[in-house]
């Protein structure tokens, strides 16, 4: 008798579980791109047709990498969580991971992007979806590199030449002796004099670099806003006849930001 009672209880709870699952809206979705970093723009498209959410205004509830800023109150999702209508029962939600979760990229990398779709009051919801994890943001080594990546005219700037990443024969073979640097304002006018062939310092990683404070290397009038640095590396290379000739790489630039 006891056994029958136990089995009945188990069956009852299983039934409740199955019924609850059945109440979740069966929707279709796509996430584009399929692989994305915390800084990529991602589009979630949903099709509510044929589900219990059809004809309703859908809202996102995002989680996985922590609670998204859309997750304020389950019974009253905010407007920022609302999908944008595409057509009929098709809707889309566009986001950037760092903004959606209000977290730095390193806090999101390798964490899942998970979401569900719900009505504003949470009365109807879809099942949970976890399409993918946030991918690492790849560092791509290049011939010319600057440090830091985001800087202002008031901060030290380092410019590097790494010939291991040259894509032309001359860039790979030339003997670098210095760097040419000029400052430009927003109109493209020179600020101070261009500095030529400034000496390079060999770095531990094999690259060559030059570090400077713009306001010390150049004479910048008080209050003058500098828009960017344009630089190229210079040296010598043997031409086809074996004669040593001067050589300068293509120019690269660093745009200064108004950092606070």
């Amino acid at each position: 008798m006891k056994r029958i009672y136990k089995l009945s209880l188990i069956a009852f709870f299983c039934l409740i579980g199955i019924t609850a699952e059945a109440q979740k809206a069966q929707i279709k979705y796509t996430v584009t791109p399929g692989v994305f970093t915390p800084e990529d723009e991602v589009v979630v498209e949903i099709d509510l047709a044929g589900s219990s959410l059809a004809g309703k205004e859908p809202y996102i509830w995002a989680f996985g990498a922590g609670d998204a800023i859309t997750n304020t109150l389950w019974t009253s999702s905010p407007d920022i969580a609302k999908f944008t209508k595409v057509t009929g029962d098709k809707w889309k939600f566009v986001f950037i991971g760092t903004t959606l979760y209000n977290k730095g990229a390193s806090e999101l990398i390798d964490k899942p992007f998970s979401f569900l779709v719900k009505t504003k009051d949470g009365g109807i919801q879809s099942e949970d979806f976890s399409p993918t994890k946030f991918s690492p943001i790849m560092f791509v080594p290049t011939l010319l590199r600057h440090f830091p990546l985001r800087t202002s005219q008031y901060d030290a700037l380092s410019l590097y030449l790494d010939q291991r990443y040259a894509s032309t024969a001359n860039n790979q073979r030339f003997s670098a002796t210095g760097v040419n640097i000029k400052l430009l304002d927003a109109a493209g006018n020179l600020v101070g004099q261009e500095k030529k062939n400034l000496p390079l310092v060999k770095q531990k990683d094999g690259s060559s670099g030059y570090t400077f404070l713009p306001e010390i290397l150049f004479t910048i009038p008080d209050g003058q806003v500098v828009n960017k640095v344009v630089y190229s590396f210079t040296g010598t290379v043997k031409d086809v006849n074996g004669v040593t000739v001067s050589y300068t790489t293509e120019e690269a630039e660093v745009v200064f930001l108004d950092l606070k």
Partner: protein, 171 residues
């Protein structure tokens, strides 16, 4: 079987009886940060940290700027009142780049017991500086960090750069 139960019961009782209260070490007096900051300091090293690259786990995140200019000529004096509250300050750069707007005036902290930020004020001119690890103070070092933020169109601030100034106690 019954014997085994008694043996297990006896073992549990004996184990419990063997327990004794751990004597926790006294953690000592709370660290007096402002008091430790008081005095004369000489700049020892300058490290620029690319917080933007650090956040993305990129390989190049810091550059040592110490040898670039005569930063070590920078001397900082932090004075306190008799009851160890922040009072006046003086900073002389010598031939070092002037990395702060103020050179003298008053200094304050955001929280006396656990300061995170120090503000240097001279009239309407101010410098906001983040304080580094308190543990450095025990080793006679003071880390002052000037943080730079990129501000988005929505007003959101993102830390992208830190200039870290490591001072050594001069006396």
């Amino acid at each position: 079987m019954k014997k085994l139960k008694y043996i297990i019961f006896l073992l549990v009782v004996l184990s419990a009886a063997a327990c004794k209260k751990d004597q926790l070490k006294d953690i000592g007096e709370p660290r007096k940060v402002v008091n430790a900051m008081k005095g004369n300091w000489t700049l020892n090293s300058v490290i620029q940290v690319d917080e933007y690259a650090k956040d993305k786990l990129f390989p190049f995140t810091a550059v040592d700027l110490t040898g670039l200019y005569p930063y070590r000529e920078t001397k900082l004096t932090l004075n306190t009142t008799e009851d160890n509250k922040p009072a006046t300050f003086n900073i002389s750069f010598g031939n070092s780049p002037k990395f702060l707007k103020t050179t003298q005036g008053n200094w304050t902290v955001d929280n006396y017991d656990t300061p995170q930020t120090m503000t240097l004020t001279n009239g309407t001119t101010t410098d906001q500086i983040s304080l580094g690890k308190y543990g450095l103070l025990d080793q006679g070092e003071l880390l002052l960090s000037v943080k730079k933020y990129q501000v988005g169109s929505d007003g959101k601030k993102t830390l992208v750069l830190s200039n870290n100034y490591y001072f050594k106690k001069a006396n």
